[in-house]
C-alpha cells in the first residue's frame, strides 16, 4: 500500500523543495549577519580616538591605525584616478568606436578575464614591472596594482551605460554641428554620468579591501608616510600582519581594522544600490 498517492507525493516533494530553497536563502543571510555581528563584537571594544590619531605601534604599546588608514586612502585614491581615466576612455572606445570588430570583441573578452583574474597574479605582474626594475617597494607600485584591478570594472560599466543611451542623443549632437568628441564629452558622458559613477564606486569598494596585490608592491610602513616612492602602510596589509601575530593588542587592532574596512565597503555597496534605484525612478 502506498503511503501517499501520486498527488500527495508530488505535494510533499514540493514542500521539501520550498523548505530547502527558503533555508538556503536564510543560510546566506545568517552568514552575512554572523560575520557582521562578530566583527562588531570583536572590533567595537578597540575603537577609540587613538585609532584615528596614532600610527601603528610596536607590540604592547599604545597606538592606532592612522598611518594605515591614510595610506589606504592615498593608494585607493591614486589608483581610482588612473582607473577612471583609462577605464572611461576604454569603455567609450568599446561602445562608440569598436563596434563588433574582432579586435573590440577580443578586448571585451580579455577585460572580462581581467575582471575575475586572481588579484595576487596582478601583484606579481606589478612586482615585475614596477618594483624590481625601480629597486624597491613603493606606493606607486601598490596604486598601479589596485588600478589594474579597478580599470576593468570601470571599463565594463562605462561601456554598458553608454550603450543604453539613445541614438538620438548622438544624432542631436551631430545636428548641432558638434564634432564627435564634443558630443561624447558634453552629451553622452553627462547622460551616462550616474552609471559611470556607480561603476567607479563599485570598483573603489572592491580595491579598498584588496590585500594580496599590496603584499609585495606597496609592502607596509610602520610610520605615517605620504611619499609614494617609498613603501606605504595600508589597512589590509596591517590586518594581515597583526591578525596573524601573537600579540593580543596587535590582534585587537586587526579586528578594528577589519571592522572599519568591512563596514566602509558595505556602506559604499549599499549607497551604490540606493543611487541606482533613484536613477531608475527619475
Amino acid at each position: 500500500m502506498a503511503l501517499l498517492d501520486r498527488r500527495g507525493r508530488r505535494k510533499a516533494a514540493n514542500a521539501l523543495f520550498v523548505t530547502f530553497c527558503t533555508g538556503a536563502a536564510l543560510f546566506a543571510i545568517a552568514a552575512l549577519a554572523t560575520i557582521l555581528f562578530s566583527l562588531l563584537i570583536k572590533g567595537i571594544g578597540g575603537l577609540n580616538l587613538d585609532i584615528f590619531t596614532m600610527s601603528t605601534p610596536a607590540p604592547e604599546s599604545r597606538g592606532g591605525l592612522a598611518n594605515a588608514i591614510v595610506g589606504s586612502v592615498l593608494l585607493c585614491g591614486v589608483a581610482m584616478i588612473g582607473a577612471v581615466s583609462v577605464g572611461v576612455l576604454a569603455g567609450t572606445w568599446l561602445a562608440e568606436f569598436g563596434g563588433t570588430s574582432p579586435y573590440a570583441n577580443t578586448i571585451r573578452f580579455l577585460n572580462d578575464v581581467l575582471l575575475s583574474a586572481p588579484s595576487i597574479l596582478i601583484g606579481l605582474f606589478v612586482y615585475y614591472i614596477a618594483v624590481k626594475p625601480l629597486g624597491g617597494f613603493s606606493g606607486w607600485a601598490g596604486a598601479l596594482a589596485l588600478a589594474l584591478i579597478a580599470t576593468p570594472v570601470v571599463t565594463r560599466t562605462t561601456e554598458d551605460v553608454l550603450k543604453l543611451q539613445a541614438r538620438q542623443l548622438r544624432e542631436s549632437g551631430a545636428a548641432l554641428g558638434a564634432p564627435m568628441w564634443v558630443t561624447i564629452q558634453r552629451v553622452l558622458w553627462r547622460a551616462a554620468g550616474g552609471g559611470i559613477i556607480t561603476g567607479a564606486l563599485l570598483a573603489f569598494a572592491r580595491i579598498s579591501g584588496e590585500t594580496a596585490p599590496l603584499l609585495f608592491t606597496s609592502l607596509g610602513n610602520q610610520f605615517m608616510s605620504f611619499d609614494m616612492t617609498k613603501p606605504i602602510s595600508n589597512l589590509p596589509a596591517i590586518i594581515f600582519q597583526f591578525g596573524l601575530s601573537a600579540y593580543d593588542d596587535w590582534q585587537r587592532l586587526a579586528w578594528v581594522g577589519a571592522m572599519l574596512i568591512a563596514f566602509a565597503v558595505l556602506a559604499i555597496n549599499i549607497l551604490v544600490r540606493v543611487l541606482s534605484q533613484e536613477q531608475k525612478r527619475s
Binding site: 546566506a28 576612455l89 575575475s116 595576487i120 558638434a178 590586518i239 591578525g243
Partner: protein, 320 residues
C-alpha cells in the same frame, strides 16, 4: 540675397569647429582599450619569463613532486596545485546547492516586498573583503568548526573505514575542509546572482503554461526553468569556480599552510595563491621566487581556461 549667402555652403559645408580633434580623441580611446589588452599580455609574459628558470630546471617534476624545500632549493608544486584544485572543487560542491536554493527562492517564493532587501543582503556577501573572511574564519569559525564538526566526525569514523582516512589530520579547525567551507560562502553570492538573472530570462509565458497544466513549483524549476537556462547555468558555475581558484587572503588565513600533500580533509594544506602570498616577499633565493612565479603561471593558465569556458557558455554579454 538668400541665394547668395547659401550658395557657397551648398557644395562644401564648413567642418564643425574642433573637428580636427576627433581623430585624436579616437586614438586616445583606442590607446586606453589597447592598454587593457597589453596589461593581460604583460601578466602572461611576466609570469612565464619569471617562472621559466624553475620550469626549465625541474621540468615535469615541478608538477609531480611535492617536495618544497627552500633550504636545498628544490621545488615541486604538486602540493599547492592539488590543494588549489581540491579546495576549489569542494567549495563549489558546497556552494552550488545553496546558491541554487537562494536563486530559486528569490525568483519563485520570495514575497515581492522582501525581494530587494534579501537580494541585496546576498550580494553584500560578495562585498565583504577577502581578508575579513580570513580573520573571521580563523578566529570565529575555526574553533567552532573544530569542536562541533571535526572532533565528532573523527570520533565517529569507524577504524579502518574510508571515513577514517578521509578525516585524517589535526582537528584544530584549520585545514583543507575549513578553507573550502569559507570559500564556498565567498563564491555563493556570485553563483546565486548569476543564476537568479538567468532564471529571470525565462519567458513568463513558458513558466506560466507549466503552472497551468498543474505542475508544482519544484516541477516547474526542474523541468522548465533549468533546461531553459542549462548552458548558461554551467557558465555561472564555472565563473564561481574561477573565483574560488584565485582567492588568496581568506585561504591563507585558514588552510594551515603546509606544502606536503594533504593526507585528509582536516589536514593542513596550501593553495597556489596562499603559497605566493606567504613566501614571495621573503623568497630566499632566485630559484625560490622563480618557483613561486611558475606556480602563479600555472594558476593563471587554470583560471584562464575556466573563465574562457564560462564566457563561452554564458555567451557574450548583451551588447547593442
Amino acid at each position: 540675397m538668400n541665394a547668395a549667402t547659401a550658395s557657397p555652403s551648398v557644395g562644401k559645408r564648413d567642418r564643425p569647429v574642433g573637428a580636427a580633434f576627433d581623430p585624436v580623441f579616437r586614438v586616445l580611446c583606442f590607446t586606453a582599450a589597447t592598454l587593457l589588452l597589453s596589461a593581460l599580455g604583460g601578466i602572461v609574459a611576466s609570469l612565464l619569463i619569471g617562472g621559466w628558470p624553475a620550469l626549465q630546471k625541474f621540468g615535469l617534476n615541478f608538477f609531480l613532486s611535492s617536495e618544497w624545500n627552500p633550504v636545498t632549493d628544490i621545488y615541486g608544486g604538486a602540493g599547492p596545485i592539488v590543494g588549489t584544485l581540491i579546495t576549489a572543487v569542494l567549495s563549489l560542491l558546497m556552494a552550488l546547492p545553496v546558491a541554487f536554493g537562494c536563486a530559486v527562492f528569490l525568483v519563485e517564493f520570495c514575497p515581492p516586498i522582501m525581494r530587494r532587501p534579501i537580494g541585496i543582503a546576498i550580494e553584500l556577501l560578495a562585498g565583504v573583503p577577502s581578508i575579513v573572511y580570513g580573520m573571521w574564519g580563523l578566529f570565529v569559525f575555526a574553533p567552532l568548526f573544530s569542536t562541533y564538526v571535526e572532533l565528532p566526525l573523527i570520533t565517529w569514523a569507524p577504524p579502518g573505514s574510508i571515513w577514517e582516512k578521509l578525516f585524517q589530520g589535526i582537528p584544530n579547525g584549520a585545514g583543507i575542509l575549513s578553507a573550502s567551507v569559507i570559500l564556498s560562502v565567498m563564491i555563493l553570492p556570485y553563483i546565486a546572482a548569476t543564476l537568479r538573472e538567468l532564471f529571470l530570462t525565462v519567458p513568463a509565458k513558458v513558466r506560466e503554461s507549466a503552472y497551468g497544466v498543474g505542475c508544482t513549483t519544484m516541477e516547474v524549476v526542474w523541468s522548465v526553468t533549468l533546461p531553459y537556462v542549462r548552458r548558461s547555468a554551467i557558465g555561472a558555475v564555472m565563473l564561481g569556480l574561477g573565483r574560488a581558484l584565485g582567492e588568496t587572503m581568506a585561504v591563507t588565513f585558514i588552510i594551515g599552510n603546509s606544502h606536503a600533500f594533504p593526507k585528509g580533509l582536516f589536514d593542513g594544506g596550501s593553495t597556489i595563491a596562499s603559497t605566493i602570498a606567504n613566501e614571495f616577499a621573503e623568497a630566499t633565493s632566485d630559484m625560490h621566487s622563480a618557483a613561486l612565479i611558475a606556480l602563479g603561471f600555472v594558476l593563471f593558465v587554470i583560471t584562464f581556461a575556466v573563465l574562457a569556458i564560462a564566457r563561452a557558455l554564458l555567451g557574450a554579454p548583451k551588447h547593442g
